[in-house]
Amino acid sequence: EQLSGSGESQPVHIEADRIDGHYQQEIEATGNVRMRRGDQTLSADHVKYYQDTEDVEVKGNALLERPDDTLWGTFLQMNLQTDIGELRDPRYALKGGNGRGSGSLLLLEGENQYRIKKARYTTCPEDNHDWYILADDLEIDNEKKVGTARHASIRFKDVPILYLPWMNFSFSKERKTGFLSPIMGNTSRSGVEVSVPFYWNIAPNYDATITPRLMSRRGVMLDNEFRYIGQGLGGRLQFDYLPNDLVTDTTRYGLQFNHSQFLGSGWFGALNYNRVSDHNYFRDLGNNILFTSQVNLLQQATASYFSELGRNGMLTFSTLMQQFQTVQDPRAPIISPFKILPRFTLNAVKSNVYGLDFDLASSFTHFSHPTLPHGLRFTAFPSVALPLENSFGFIRPRVGLHYTKYDLNTPAFPGTNDKHPDRSVPIFSLDSGVVLERDMTLGGGNFIQTLEPRVFYTYIPYREQRLLPNFDSAEMDFSFAQLFMEKRFSGEDRINDANEITLAMSSRLIHSATGNERLRFSVGQRIRFSDRRVLLTSPQVTRAGSDFIAELSGSLAQHVKTDAGIQLNQNNLLIEKIRTGISYNPAPGQVINAGYRFTRDVLEQVDLSTQWPFLKRWQGFAAINYSLKNDKLLAGLLGLEYNACCWSLRLVASRFTTATQKTSTNIFVQLELNDLMRIGTNPIRVLQQSIPGYVRTDLQ
């Protein structure tokens, strides 16, 4: 049962070398006295206990042991019932976190509450004084596990590094309302920055963080994040507001709102709305590549329904309202994407109906655009397949009819006056494959090696489509995923003609005991019996000639993983694309990644990144993303971290391109006082983004 000492009165057990006293009045115990009352135990050289008032006077090596903390002192005078009293020359240790400290005087102010004058607080172990808070007045609330300091200065190696008139900190992992540690930084675009986030734990299922952000060059900005979670729903709203930007003399804001919710009986709704005040908002005020690299800000609402369709069938229906705010880079403007207001999609799959698999993909979309021709589009692509499987292989013919109808506001191109073009094209494919296996042992483990030859033939007759609008079609990247697909263009506006066969072979190494795929090597080639007539040039995708592909992915050896692929042009054996990546990750916190990527006429880049510990307490970070094509460093990062037993210091410099000829250089300096606060800007997110496999190691 609840054994809190105060509350109702409790029997007192005393043990000492000598006890004398008047019955029912006072008891005096001397000689290494131990006194226990409820869940509090007291030991000292000399204790005087007044039975009627339950006051106690303790002299000489007083030690008070309680469920939440331990207090030491020279003289203690308190009332055991009300927990009010004072302790001279106090030292204290909290059992919640590993907070401890000392002071000139400790005032016990009721159950679980006390205040320390001229207090020192640290989470460093006993003999370590690397950092501590020095406060005129430190209030400890052991129930809410919150400490509140007034006139506090934080000393690091005895050097005062921060003065705060008022601060509070939580010494337990629970979410506590209160100021979080201040964030300081310096960027070329907004000068010196200081922000002091305030976390407000409104209720168990929603909270808010309000961060006033003071920037020397731009003025005061207010970043607000509001999060909520409920029965089958949740969401987050981020609204950052800068009333008057001193540089541009304008009001600037950034809004990000996403919400998702199960609407019941198979329905699921989601909202994702992003909006900023002006084109340079992220470049001026954001310091994260995730934002500065965004051009199209999504503004979308979806509601989707998903349900079984009989024995082994599936039906998905979804509605979509989507548009984008295009944040242009003046030197490289683009046409903003079509708005989809709305789109209905109906997909159904029903397999094994008298041995046949049926599939339907259909959509009805209303595209709109301020300048380009737009209108309605209906598409339907029913298909049926006959899966023939037996013990050693499968053959799967499939035939479908892709039908599209447009209803445009103006003709798609000047040359025609047809506002209702349509197109229907049959699509035929034949997929077949065999799986061969053999057992083998490799490096002591036994594996199954598979050999999976596969042949895939596609025939799609040519349809004239030059006069059709193009809302959402582009050539897809030639990859192993795309090798066994009939369509070469994404979206529905272009259906490629095809008379091609794909020959492929892949071999997997599977660990027999666990079934985990250790390594996979695949090679494939597409042979065209006729030239492709439907073309959709996309600057980024290799020309029609590239047909040979080889890929290797998995672990080459213990701790060594690789992902490599090459594409050759069938005619001139010219390399069209190379993607190689290798990572060595012997232990958490030790990782080296290297990658080389080449796409003819598009990009050629090398990236290297590492997190490596050295000299027992140090850690180094480095990441570069170097473009060989433009002979330019696109993103770079260098960092160091020192982990002492109760604090860590992180120094990270990161530089990335925000726009043509514009880069952003950010210096992150962060001192983390364990379980108390982080001072400076937090580089953890940048490290996570730039170094695949980065793991925070100071948490152990």
Partner: protein
């Protein structure tokens, strides 16, 4: 109670030997042995052997031995008893003080003290407990003194018996 001191003392025992006090200086000594029971008003003392000394003015000094002498007396004006146990007990009605030697235990109402030696002044209710090596102590006495003090019933009426 205080009134006990004026009450007559009754003594039962298996055997009693009385010696005239003229020979022993000023004291008349009487020795009682064999489950001795001494009563005086509300005071009851049980022991294996009691040595009683009386002087001419009537003051008495009793020393009781036993494998745990037991002593019990009612408190003045309160429906509460004082009880005590020890290997040897000495009671002096001139000083109205009782001394307990060897695995001594004193119980007052719900409070209890134990130690190697206890001295209890009945009139002023003052007690002292020491952890000193005594001849009577058994080997495993750790010479520590212990007390258990029950919470004082603040509101006698409201306080239900826990």
């Amino acid at each position: 109670e205080r009134a006990d001191r004026d009450k007559p003392i009754h003594l039962e025992a298996d055997r009693a030997t009385v010696e005239d006090y003229k020979q022993k200086g000023e004291f008349r000594t009487s020795i009682f042995t064999g489950n001795v029971i001494l009563t005086q008003g509300t005071l009851i003392l049980r022991a294996d052997k009691v040595v009683m000394k009386e002087d001419s003015t009537g003051y008495r000094h009793a020393t009781a031995y036993g494998n745990l002498v037991s002593y019990r007396q009612k408190r003045d004006g309160v429906d509460e008893y004082v009880e005590a146990w020890s290997r040897r007990a000495e009671y002096d009605n001139k000083t109205d003080k009782i001394e307990l030697f060897g695995s001594a235990r004193l119980k007052r109402g719900t409070d209890e003290v134990e130690g190697d030696y206890i001295s209890y002044d009945i009139a002023s209710d003052f007690f002292q407990v020491f952890g000193q090596p005594q001849a009577e102590n058994d080997k495993n006495s750790d010479h520590r003194v212990r007390a258990v003090i029950q919470p004082k019933a603040k509101q006698p009426d409201a306080e239900t018996e826990k």
